[in-house]
């Protein structure tokens, strides 16, 4: 596996036209090989495949929310495919499930079933984007901290500890409260991203510490590689699988955090954005528990559980693959 391409590669002229250098082709080939190998192991993991199926289901529902509602409207024989912000009933009082509105309508006069279906969009969106924010922070701090060592490491780790020690929900509430601007999706994403990176930083740092001592890093340094080069070409590729497995588990946590924040009333307003969390908030403020609108409480919650389970299953399966110690058992 030479990265510098000492011997000429077999692939020739056609690719040259796109100015892809030979070492890069070789690198892509390695990435492809590794991906295929990982997929082979993953395929055998029952829970992982189950999680992937659940997740694909939700991705389809989120993307095709409109068509899904049209199909349901056809099956149910409704007047039209209700959107999440169509007022289909008078405002003020919620109504119980009926043949026209399978899950009833809420106090704003919105169709609950349509809101549950469209709600998957925000959940997945917040889950992914918040995770990207916290992974970038966590991997960045972890890599730098482990790579630098010394007092810089000590400072970064103390800061990480602060974020580990402060209960996430407390910090989120306080942040959502003090940050300027009204409640919005971007604020929720920011708050979740900035509170969720600390454990990733710890894990990545530990991995960097062990990679740093390996012979190939020393060899690279001996032939004059700079810090940036070593981090980019040697450290990062070696911590990436770990970061990836961790990211999947973080998506699950981010989705849970989003629903909690929205539920407490620190997320976006339910008349502007529909999320499963603020549907449950509406349910509580309309006294759904006392009035017996059980489906209104049960269904959004079950959707949250399914999505989170999907990510958790995939995350555990990937964890077993990247963590050879776990696979051995």
């Amino acid at each position: 596996m030479t990265m510098t391409g000492e011997e000429p590669l077999q692939v020739k002229s056609p690719r040259r036209a796109f100015h892809i250098s030979e070492p890069r082709i070789e690198k892509l080939r390695i990435v492809k090989k590794k991906t295929v190998a990982t997929w082979r192991i993953f395929k055998k993991n029952k829970l992982g495949m189950m999680g992937l199926t659940i997740l694909m289901g939700f991705v389809v529902i989120a993307i095709l929310a409109g068509p899904v509602m049209s199909v349901l409207a056809f099956i149910g024989g409704w007047d039209s495919a209700y959107g999440p912000f169509d007022r289909v009933a008078p405002m003020g009082a919620a109504t119980p499930p009926s043949s026209e509105h399978w899950l009833g309508t809420d106090q704003w006069g919105f169709d609950i079933l349509s809101r549950v279906i469209y709600g998957s969009r925000v959940s997945l969106y917040v889950g992914f984007v918040a995770t990207i924010v916290s992974m970038a922070l966590g991997a960045g701090v972890g890599i730098l901290s482990g790579f630098w060592g010394g007092w810089k490491d000590a400072v970064l780790m103390r800061i990480t500890d602060v974020f580990l020690v402060i209960p996430w929900l407390v910090l989120m509430i306080v942040l959502a409260y003090v940050l300027p601007g009204g409640p919005s999706i971007s604020k929720v994403v920011f708050v979740i991203g900035i509170t969720g990176w600390s454990s990733t930083a710890r894990i990545v740092r530990a991995q960097v510490l062990s990679v740093k001592e390996r012979a190939f890093v020393e060899r690279a340094r001996a032939i004059g590689a700079g810090d940036m080069h070593i981090v980019r070409r040697h450290i990062f590729p070696n911590v990436f699988p770990l970061v990836f497995a961790n990211a999947i588990l973080t998506v699950a946590l981010s989705i849970l955090s989003e629903s909690t924040l929205s539920f407490i009333g620190l997320g976006p307003e339910s008349v502007e954005v529909v999320t499963w969390g603020n549907m449950l908030e509406d349910a509580i403020s309309a006294s759904a528990m006392i009035n017996g609108y059980y489906m209104w409480i049960a269904i959004p919650g079950i959707f949250i559980v399914l999505v989170v389970l999907g990510f958790t299953f995939i995350g555990h399966a990937l964890d077993e693959i990247v963590n050879p110690k776990l696979r051995k058992r």
Partner: protein, 339 residues
């Protein structure tokens, strides 16, 4: 004999050193939390007092003057900071904006007691149940109990704590009417050590504590199972089996004690998560703990109470982590503190 005392003496030194390190780490974290708390509440648009007052019609100019005076809000930033640190160390966060004659700290400490009751009970149950599931799971890996209990606990793990609480209320409080749906104690009753008072508190505790316990079992079960599986592959386990000890005996005397270390570290790490869960449970069940108070304070814009609650809950978690550190140092002679 002499050798033995010598070794023990050496270990004492090491333990003392680690303990000192742990104390220094905890204090640094505490200092950083104080700085963060100071900065966070000054990130609000405008100065905090004006922000609060423009949203709060209850304030007279006179009161505003007093507040500015109390917190040195007209002074330069560094003077404000010194005043702030002083106030933190003396637990003085000023009076609540809502109950004007009560210090915010007294209100929060009153709530803290309920949070400790709730999280204490739940932690006990989640650790014990999690350990049992983990031990049986590791001993009979892949068996029906292992698969069943793990799936079950993962499903609870995937639930939003507040939603599980809502479902508990629907089923056990509204439908079956077995337990109360809110509060920590009956209206008009007071907390003392009489039998009626204790049973009343326990009766109110059942639903919040079980929702908090159920969502957290999975973390403990998984760690216990993983760590015990690791230990069971060690050579000394084979040796113990070879010298004729029964399987149960090996588990009890050799494997489980050695698998406990990751559990203790997990308890420390999870403390912050458990408190997050407790916040949601308290909110859903109107349980008058510190989490309920925090959320209530954000609605009412009760800034001193919010700040006091943030400070107190973080200090409690830092203390919890410190205790876990001490336990680990005591339990594992090989430990090296990282960071």
């Amino acid at each position: 004999m002499r050798n033995d005392t010598k070794r023990r003496h050496g270990r004492m030194n090491r333990a003392t050193k680690l303990m000192l390190k742990s104390v220094v780490n905890s204090l640094t974290t505490l200092m950083l939390v104080i700085i963060l708390n100071f900065m966070l509440f000054r990130m609000m648009p405008g100065d905090p007092i004006n922000f609060m007052i423009s949203n709060n019609p209850r304030f007279s100019d006179e009161l505003k003057e007093k507040l500015i005076d109390d917190f040195d809000l007209n002074a330069p930033m560094y003077v404000q900071f010194v005043t702030y640190v002083e106030n933190c160390l003396t637990f003085n966060f000023g009076n609540s904006f809502i109950e004007r004659n009560t210090p915010a700290m007294d209100i929060v400490l009153d709530n803290l007691r309920w949070t400790l009751i709730l999280t204490g009970t739940s932690s006990l149950f989640m650790i014990v149940i999690g350990m049992i599931i983990g031990i049986i799971g590791a001993a009979k890996r892949g068996g029906p109990f292992d698969t069943g209990s793990l799936t079950f606990s993962l499903i609870f793990y995937a639930m939003p704590t507040f939603w599980l609480g809502m479902m508990m209320i629907v089923v056990f409080s509204k439908y079956l009417a077995w337990f109360p749906s809110s509060r920590a104690i009956s209206i008009g009753a007071s907390l003392d050590f009489s039998w009626t008072s204790i049973s009343d508190v326990l009766w109110h505790l059942v639903l919040p504590a079980s929702s908090l316990t159920l969502v957290s079992i999975a973390a403990f079960a998984l760690i216990m199972r993983g760590s015990l599986t690791d230990v069971l592959t060690e050579e000394y386990i084979t040796t113990a089996r070879a010298k004729g000890l029964s399987k149960g005996r090996v588990l009890k005397d050799h494997a489980v004690p050695n698998a406990m270390l990751p559990m203790v570290s997990l308890i420390a790490i999870d403390l912050a998560f458990i408190v997050g869960g407790a916040f949601q449970t308290e909110y859903v069940f109107s349980y008058p703990g510190i989490g309920w108070r925090t959320i209530d304070a954000t609605y009412k814009m009760d800034y001193p109470v919010l700040q006091a609650a943030f400070f107190v809950i973080t200090v409690v978690v830092i203390i919890g982590n410190f205790i876990a550190d001490l336990l680990l140092i005591h339990m594992d002679p090989r430990i090296q503190m990282e960071g």
